[in-house]
């Protein structure tokens, strides 16, 4: 046993040194190896790689795939359009990676894209993954646009290459809160969250806005993202008689919360953020779901420009789920900036991206100094007949009823 082990170990050591010895030649060929990754451009073709990252496995894989589809559609359209940079024909390729919605995997995958020398990145999906990954892109100087990370912190890091085309939590929170305040005129509001970065973040913004509107907010109650029994918390709230309840969290916990609230006889209006702004609420809460209010960052997918909707449906034979119009726009923004700079070199086209003005599937896009979208839209929904229906669109503090908003979008892109 001892002998066998020693032999294997030595063999393994030798095998490893074998690899090690090959290293010096490989080392001197460093440029060569990068060439294998990006084959030398044929005289008239330039390959531009765009990375897309989102969770392709795990609980929200369907959203990750949706995001990827949006980016893929943009890339395919750009290839069909035959774009030229610096006199050369450009072939865009999309490198899609899976970050499993895990921050550790996120940085590894980000490094993988940097290794592959991508020219720009669209992603990631979750804020918790996007923030650490953005540091990797920042170090490599690669522009990154997220179509779905809503945590304000992402763009507060001072990274010049980090952008997002979706509204921040501190835009969405105030939107739903001010809609609630204006339309339902509550005197006392209870705010609950699920103690996750997302839920607490949006609940904090709602609370801030309500307090600003001189509405009394009860001390925060919390559950977790796995809580199924909300009765203790709700019973306590019932004693304080709130006129409205806001919950920052996902539908899996928001549904039971709403159901149990009605069971306990709470008559208040229930409002939610985008995590619980789905048709699933009807399944989980039953009749209790009717009339709830909720918000989504950005415009509803069905309100994206018609061109995008048709093209998406045609290509993937399904409807966009949530953020694909945003990743579609993010990808187009990268391409547009490259066109303007007439280069795919990140350092060269980054300044163009910062000052871009572009009309995409989700409306006109411009970035502010931090890389956030100026005047991002937030949509308010209600549950009607078991379906989430848009009520109004809030933009720059102004509320437009949905019907009117659709008319303005009709002339989009």
């Amino acid at each position: 046993m001892n002998n066998k082990l020693s032999i294997t170990l030595i063999a393994a050591a030798l095998a490893l040194t074998g690899c090690g010895e090959q290293k010096p030649p490989a080392k001197t060929e460093a440029p060569a190896s990068s060439q294998t990754a990006a084959p030398p451009p044929a005289p008239e073709a330039l390959e531009v790689k765009i990375g897309h990252v989102g969770p392709l496995t795990g609980g929200i894989a369907h959203l990750g795939k949706d995001n990827e589809n949006g980016a893929r559609l943009a890339v395919d359209e750009a290839n069909a359009a035959g774009i030229k940079l610096d006199g050369k024909n450009v072939k865009f390729t999309l490198i899609a990676e899976d970050d499993q919605a895990d921050p550790k995997v996120g940085t590894t995958v980000a490094q993988k894209l940097v290794d592959a020398k991508v020219n720009g990145v669209v992603g990631h999906l979750n804020s918790g993954v996007t923030i650490p990954a953005s540091a990797v892109y920042n170090q490599a100087g690669i522009p990154m646009i997220s179509g779905s990370a809503t945590n304000p912190k992402l763009t507060e890091q001072g990274f010049k290459n980090v952008f997002r085309v979706v509204g921040r939590d501190d835009q969405q929170g105030p939107a739903i809160a001010s809609y609630l305040a204006a339309e339902k005129k509550p005197k006392v509001v209870a705010v609950i969250d699920d103690a996750t970065a997302y839920g607490e973040g949006i609940a904090n913004e709602v609370e801030k806005t309500l307090k600003g509107a001189k509405i009394k907010v009860l001390p925060r109650e919390k559950g977790t993202d796995k809580t199924t029994d909300w009765k203790a918390v709700l019973t306590k709230l019932r004693g304080r008689k709130p006129d409205a309840v806001f919950y920052g969290g996902m539908d899996a916990t928001g549904g039971p919360l709403l159901k149990q609230g009605r069971e306990l006889g709470i008559k208040a209006v229930f409002a939610f953020g985008d995590g619980a702004c789905t048709d699933k609420m009807k399944e989980l809460a039953g009749e209790a779901a009717e009339g709830l209010l909720c918000s989504q960052a950005g415009i509803p997918p069905q309100a994206a420009s018609k061109n995008f909707l048709d093209a998406y449906k045609k290509k993937f034979n399904t409807d966009p789920i949530l953020y694909s119009p945003f990743t579609y726009d993010a990808t187009n923004l990268l391409i547009e900036a490259m066109k303007k700079a007439n280069s795919s070199d990140p350092a060269t086209y980054l300044p163009e991206l910062q000052k871009i003005s572009f009309t995409g599937a989700t409306g006109p896009i411009e970035f502010d100094d931090k890389g956030d979208r100026k005047d991002a839209e937030i949509t308010i929904f209600t549950m009607q007949g078991g379906k989430i229906e848009p009520l109004a669109v809030v933009k720059g503090g102004r509320t437009t009823p949905y019907e009117e908003f659709l008319k303005t979008m009709g002339g989009g892109k």
Partner: protein, 358 residues
């Protein structure tokens, strides 16, 4: 290490062996960087797990106390570093000050957990430690109110990388013609720390303390009657194991640059336990092997399972992550059933088994 090389009377063979391993470890990151810097990062995370597994091995392997909340100490170390080296509290201490502090605080937590639970039997202890791990995470998640200490679920961002006299571990540099990216620098640092911890472990194992732990593990009552102060020694095991976790946590914090309570969930604790159990409780080489194996498994699966499924069925049927967890579960069960001492059993256990089966 010696027992693995049959080098009786040939000390030079041992030295050559060490030299070979040393060369391999030294050039490894550059070889990996040829494939992709991402592999250096993966290796770095693997070394972090090696540190964790070695720390847990002191508690589980040496002293025989099953700890299912070990990740709490990792969290304590990570948060200590993050709080003392980030704009969150606006404190920026150098890493060589914080790491010992983090190790100390983690050790304190270890003793804090150990003290009331010393009387408990093995399986009760396991459950209490599990509860402890969850409590620490819940507190980290909620200590943003009424006074914002940990920033709650939002996590702490922009954590400083390690810096020494203007030399930052986070940045890219060219040095005597070699390209040192951030991950490569961290690789060497992690390697040094890992080797130091391995050395401490080896020395510990064969020391008075190590033997006393072994005695406690085998038969606590007998150990006490032999004059071993079981209480102090068990506390020491908890504190030492925890301090290693604290160091690993601090390094994780710096490498990652952003931490939140999400990174310190129960599954992580179980993962580290699996590494120790799979490799061989109480055997340092085994534990290192277990940690490396289990940390590379996800990457291997990513490269094999996905393409294989796509080729066979045209789409993904089972996530690699699910397969990974199933493999973990199976490994735990099968190892316990068929090879309870692990892949590389410790010498003592092997001796015991040999005695039983003549």
């Amino acid at each position: 290490m010696k027992q693995y090389f049959n080098a009786k009377g040939k000390p030079w063979l041992v030295w050559i062996g060490f030299a070979l391993v040393g060369v391999v470890l030294a050039v490894l990151p550059f070889a990996l960087a040829q494939v992709g810097t991402s592999w250096v990062r993966i290796t770095n995370y693997a070394i972090l797990y090696v540190l964790l597994a070695l720390g847990l091995n002191i508690v589980v392997g040496f002293a025989g106390l099953l700890d299912l909340g070990y990740i709490a100490f990792y969290a304590v170390g990570a948060y200590t570093y993050a709080l003392l080296a980030s704009p969150h509290l606006n404190i920026h201490l150098p890493f060589w000050v914080i790491l010992p502090i983090g190790a100390g605080i983690a050790a304190l937590f270890g003793a804090l957990l150990g003290a009331p639970t010393l009387k408990l039997r093995g399986d009760y202890l396991a459950i209490v430690t599990l509860g402890f791990g969850e409590i620490v995470r819940i507190f980290l998640n909620n200590l943003s109110q009424p006074v914002n200490l940990t920033n709650g679920p939002q996590g702490i961002a922009r954590i400083d990388p390690f810096q020494l006299n203007g030399f930052s571990f986070g940045t890219y540099e060219k040095f005597i013609g070699l390209e040192f990216s951030g991950p490569i620098k961290y690789y060497y640092l992690l390697l040094v720390v890992a080797l130091a911890i391995i050395l401490v472990n080896v020395r510990l194992q064969n020391s008075r303390i190590g033997r006393a732990w072994e005695a406690i593990r085998e038969d606590e009552i007998a150990a006490r009657s032999m004059g071993i102060n079981t209480r102090n020694l068990k506390l020491l095991a908890f504190a030492m194991g925890a301090s290693f976790g604290g160091v690993a946590g601090g390094m994780f914090s710096a490498i990652q640059g952003f931490i939140s309570p999400e990174s310190f969930v129960l599954v992580e604790s179980i993962m580290v336990v699996s590494m120790v159990v799979l490799g061989g409780m109480g055997n340092i080489a085994g534990v290192v092997l277990g940690a490396l194996l289990l940390s590379f498994v996800p990457e291997i699966l990513r490269w094999t399972v996905e393409p294989a499924q796509r080729a066979l069925f045209g789409r993904m049927l089972v996530d690699p992550e699910v397969i990974r967890m199933l493999l973990f579960g199976l490994a735990l069960v099968l190892i316990m059933l068929f090879r309870p001492a692990g892949l590389l059993p410790s010498a003592v256990r092997r001796r015991e088994l040999a005695e039983r089966a003549p």
